[in-house]
Subunit: 380 residues, 2 copies
């Protein structure tokens, strides 16, 4: 392998694949990035076995030469060093040449680097995925759906399936669900699903989805999602992002969501968020994060929390609407703040079916999101 | 104590004094902030015994009422909670009232807080400092002198005196020195010292100086420095910053600095910095940070480093000037980068007196700074 490549393009691709590199891997070859060059361009691959990312740099793009290939070939280079070094090279152009024993010479300006390379044959081969089930969606919608559900996954590794987000698709309805048994987030979006793709019980690690989010550009990108037996492949421009599907059956959450309420409130999202935030400051000191919400005779609500060591916070909040019974309920304020952070609607609907039943939060101008928080049983 | 105070001003003062609060103190009263109100205004005090900070909020400033005092008094409030809560209160005005048993009521908008307060009599009294020795200097100069020396202090608590920066003043020359026995930074500034103040062996903790830097505004502030027997007091606008002087005698460093050189180089600061930075990437993997510099026959220098696992970096750098003998020397690249980060001059002078003698770095257009790095003894 002998090439000249533009630093900017190489660096961009390196930054993408670097997200799949684990510093704690026990497989030495996976601490590296695989480079493969042919006359079409250069392909970079990195993998931590859970996710694999591949980025392609075309030899030529819009009549601009990006990779000048003198001799095709491949090598695996030590990722951490390679990633940081390329970024810091002095010139806009980089020369790379793989010599005997995979020793790789990198030249840029007056900098000359000899890098110890590894045999690319040792690098695991990426799964080949049948492209029977493909859906397409805007990148910013995908990112939004991830953001609005992933915070509700479980961090407890004893139920691995709950560390993922459940995906299902039927007709045009694409749905994400996440729950840690104490709270739940659900978000649906309508897709034009011309190929009549259908799936259920596809569960993808929340950690993986967060990494995926970082790779998807904020605007004007269509992401193709290929769903196979035990893998999902995301195609984002010239980047391929492979992840495995979590093993196991996701619990049926449909039955725990109430459909009728005894009490319904409509109120301002920002004001509720600020108020819970202040109450959280105190509740946090008690480690429980317990905050109490109770409806008042004057049509407002009271938010309060207390700490034996620090004191008490009480505040009143006006409601836009209030129907049904009076309610007095305690919940984890951190869970509520997590929900309020991702809600984009100015007003919220909150439904209660009693002090021991799930609290349901829905943004007013968005019928596709639903958040559930289980209340705390408290003595007073 | 019963007052109304503007949130903005209270919050600003709280942020200043909060820098003296240690979360790890074993003295319960020091987890609090002391508030003292009289008809002139409000004084806030926090202390971690090493440093104490006091901020004053005048009742009136430029015809604007800031604190409206109904009843003077004082209380100690739990710092962490108080600091975060005041920032998040909904209204621009805050009402505070200390009730029986130091219970303190805080009201703002529709938020009502009962805070557990402590007896202000238990709060340690700040030292009274005789103002015999006072010097004044611009705040940005003080910050610069701290930044350009403090990185060379020792982090090793077994020589406590070296965890500080040595201050001395004679005639108009105000000098800072820091060393960890492997490197040294020295910075002098000229002050108008009309009162003929003189001192030596004043050593102030580097950690404290970093905190002080955060409080000094970037522009247009004169800082008054009062030097007493075992304390130094900094007066910054309405903030008083007290710190103790470290015990012990600072070593005499004047003799280790060579005054003549066998080799002298002049070169571009940025280019050297970039080059050392690349070599550092490799040297870091060997834990030693060793980088080698050697002069070449063609009047340039070569910077290189190597790692058995990763490879080798070599680069050439042009010199603006080169006088004296050829030199080949190894040093800690991290120490060199620390120096290059704080040098503002475009060109540097580096002086050598042999492969085992100190390396002296001086910015070209600044005769008031000097940096010293001891070389490594290497076998090849």
């Amino acid at each position: 392998m002998k090439i000249r490549v533009l630093k900017h393009d190489l660096n961009e691709s390196i930054q993408h694949v670097a997200k799949a590199i684990s510093s704690r891997t026990t497989i030495p070859i996976l601490t590296g990035i695989k480079l493969e060059v042919n006359f079409q361009g250069m392909t970079l691959t990195a993998s931590d076995t859970d996710i694999s990312i591949q980025a392609f740099i075309p030899a030529e793009d819009q009549n601009k030469q990006i990779v000048q290939v003198e001799r095709p070939g491949s090598v695996v280079l030590p990722a951490k060093f390679f990633v940081e070094m390329i970024k810091k090279l002095p010139s806009a152009e980089i020369e790379m040449e793989v010599q005997e024993g995979f020793k790789t010479q990198i030249r840029s300006g007056s900098t000359d680097i000899q890098m110890v390379g590894l045999d690319p044959e040792e690098f695991p081969v990426l799964p080949s995925i049948e492209e029977n089930q493909v859906i397409s969606m805007p990148g910013d919608l995908l990112k939004n759906m991830i953001k609005q559900t992933v915070f509700s996954i479980s961090s407890n590794e004893t139920s691995p399936i709950l560390t993922g987000v459940l995906w299902s698709l039927s007709e045009n309805q694409f749905k994400f669900v996440a729950t840690d048994r104490h709270r739940l987030a659900s978000r649906t979006a309508e897709l034009s699903n011309d190929d009549q793709v259908r799936f259920s019980n596809i569960v993808i690690s929340g950690k993986t989805l967060n990494e995926l989010s970082k790779i998807v550009p904020d605007q004007n990108t269509i992401v193709d999602i290929v769903v196979a037996d035990n893998q999902v492949l995301f195609k984002i421009d010239r980047v391929l992002f492979y992840t495995r599907i979590l093993d196991g059956t996701y619990p049926d959450t449909s039955k725990i969501i109430p459909t009728t309420y005894k009490t319904e409130l409509v109120l301002d999202t920002k004001k509720l968020s600020d108020s819970i935030d202040r109450a959280y400051l105190l509740s946090r000191e008690e480690k429980t994060n317990i905050v109490r919400l109770q409806t008042m005779d004057n049509g407002s609500i009271e938010i309060s929390s207390s700490s034996s060591e620090l004191g008490k916070v009480t505040e009143q909040l006006d409601l836009a609407e209030f129907t049904g019974e009076q309610v007095r309920i305690s919940f984890n304020s951190k869970y509520m703040l997590d929900v309020l952070k991702v809600v984009e609607s100015e007003q919220l609907h909150i439904g209660f079916t009693g002090a021991m039943s799930p609290i349901i939060i829905k943004p007013m101008d968005d019928t596709q999101s639903l958040y559930l928080i289980l209340p705390y049983r408290t003595t007073n």
